[in-house]
């Protein structure tokens, strides 16, 4: 296997982008990534695009061809492939690009993610997202996505010490970081009171425990490490790429409050990189709901099971903490254009490792991690990236 490096990243701003269409979004992200890598389109050998549900959000399938066409690649006939794993689509698209380069099949590969969610009514987007869980045996009986994570929260709070205020601190911290990220959907700081006073969605989760509906796209370009310096002075090496699966329905899990796929992918990634959680300078985790970040930092080994509430309240996951979590603002504040999220996480870690993260920069960052979850934990992708 060849070593793989990231040579360029690009991300649109995230938000309710009424003026931008699906194809406009990914062309913008792709152009930013190409410019970052100082690369012309003729050098690209293949593309992978993470997208959850263009079929239901904009009634468009065949996204691989569409993205290649509007990126100006149609007449070059390069392979372009859509990857789908609900909210983990982006993480898996990145992994496919890494595998393509590592195998020697391709040299310069684009991994992109895109979702256009606001062209349907909010009720329709919520219903589409329910398809990330078991439609026949969860969605059918009235489960919503917040409802499923709320059942994780109820189980967790019954078994471990986690206060409602500690849970709110996850969102407060992520909004603080989002306020320092120019692409974030929400760039306002909030207080614990903001969370506790917000609308109840599914007990115990309120509106400010939930990631929003977002439009956006992100793209990264990967290449063999030994060619990376042709394009950039600051290549970022892919130290590990891991992926794991679990039951589609939450009710079939071994443990409601542990995402076994996160544990498995995390262990596999650390083993592949020959590193431990102590070596990680910052991590982007999949905080689709506040409780998801609590589970993630435990499942990846950054603190013991049952201690993430106190760990968060003590500021250990803040920019100045022991392990900064979601420096981008996470899904909560940066936004969650489902298929793009896994790629945006990679963009954020690359910016941190290149010392380009501005007001949210972690001093001396050398190694970072991304953690991207599909559904309630049926798919997890974990990557470890490092400076060379």
């Amino acid at each position: 296997m060849r070593d793989v490096a990231i040579i360029g990243v690009g991300c649109t701003t995230f938000g309710e982008k009424w003026q931008s269409s699906f194809r406009h979004l990914f062309v913008e992200a792709g152009a930013l990534a190409l410019e970052d890598a100082q690369l012309s389109g003729e050098k690209i050998d293949a593309m992978y695009v993470g997208n959850m549900s263009a079929g239901r959000f904009i009634e468009q399938e065949h996204i691989g061809a569409l993205i290649a066409d509007y990126a100006g690649m149609a007449t070059r006939h390069i392979p372009s492939t859509r990857v789908e794993a609900a909210c983990a689509s982006g993480g898996l698209a990145f992994r496919q690009a890494v595998i393509a380069v590592a195998s020697g099949m391709e040299d310069i590969v684009v991994a992109a993610g895109v979702e256009k969610m606001t062209d349907v009514e909010p009720g329709a987007s919520t219903d589409t997202l329910t398809g990330a869980a078991d439609r026949e045996w969860e969605g059918f009986v009235g489960a919503t996505f917040p409802g499923l994570y709320a059942m994780i929260a109820t189980d967790y709070m019954h078994r471990y010490p986690l206060t409602r205020e500690q849970l709110a601190q996850v969102s407060v911290k992520n909004h603080y970081n989002g306020a320092r990220n120019p692409i974030a959907q929400y760039q306002q700081e909030i207080t614990i009171g903001t969370v506790l006073r917000s609308t109840m969605v599914a007990e115990p989760l309120r509106l400010f425990d939930c990631s929003p509906i977002t439009d956006g796209a992100a793209a990264v370009i990967v290449a063999p490490l030994d060619r990376a310096r042709e394009f950039t002075d600051t290549p970022i090496k892919v130290l590990a790429s891991a992926q794991a699966s679990d039951t589609i329905a939450l009710h079939d899990r071994r443990d409601i409050s542990t995402l076994d796929a996160s544990v498995a992918a995390g262990k596999q990634a650390f083993k592949m990189a020959k590193l431990s959680h102590k070596d990680i300078d910052m991590v982007e985790v999949h905080d689709c709901f506040s409780i998801a970040e609590i589970c993630a930092i435990e499942d990846l080994g950054f603190c013991k099971k049952g201690e993430a509430g106190k760990f968060t309240a003590d500021g250990e996951t803040a920019l100045s903490g022991k392990i900064p979590v979601n420096t981008s603002g996470g899904l909560k504040a940066c936004g969650h254009p489902v298929g793009a999220t896994g790629i945006k996480q990679v963009c954020e870690i690359v910016q941190q490792l290149r010392n380009e993260a501005g007001k949210r920069q972690i001093d001396g960052a050398k190694i970072g991690m991304t953690h991207n979850v599909g559904g309630t934990g049926a798919t997890v992708a974990v990557h470890i990236l490092g400076r060379v």
Binding site: G123, W137, V141, G142, A143, T144, T154, M200, D252, I256
Partner: protein
């Protein structure tokens, strides 16, 4: 949802007909046609569940998908059936009544409707056991 898609699951949804592996004795609800433990050595047969179980975890849904909006707030739970498997279902009770560990039994209820003229989805909900 098309009529066929709903119709083919009527035995499971109305009467809790799941499956059981005769090789290892493990029960499945929702039904599986392949035993993850015995794999190709498994022998799957239908099994009617007694419909009694215990609440593992729950939430009260306040913001629902369109089909369920009229029901809010409603109780959604994961229930461990006495035969072993776990399933997701609504519990028909006051939101402040539901507790982890509460005993429940199945009842036949209307679940949702496909708009004003679409098919009516019936299925299983649970109520607190007396």
């Amino acid at each position: 949802m098309s009529v066929a898609r709903f119709w083919r699951k009527i035995p499971q949804r109305y009467n809790l007909i799941g499956t059981r592996c005769e090789t290892c004795g493990r029960h499945f609800f929702p039904p599986r046609t392949f035993c993850p433990d015995c794999r190709r050595n498994g022998k799957i047969v239908d099994h009617k569940f007694a419909g009694k179980g215990t609440v593992v975890t729950y939430t009260i849904i306040h913001t629902a998908n369109e089909q369920f909006e009229a029901l809010t707030p409603y109780v959604l739970a994961i229930i461990q059936l006495d035969e072993g498997p776990r399933m997701t279902s609504q519990i028909v009770c006051r939101p402040d009544e539901v507790k982890i560990g509460m005993r429940v039994k199945s009842v036949f209820r209307k679940i949702a409707t496909d708009g004003r003229s679409g098919i009516i989805h019936y299925g299983t909900k649970f109520v607190p056991e007396e």
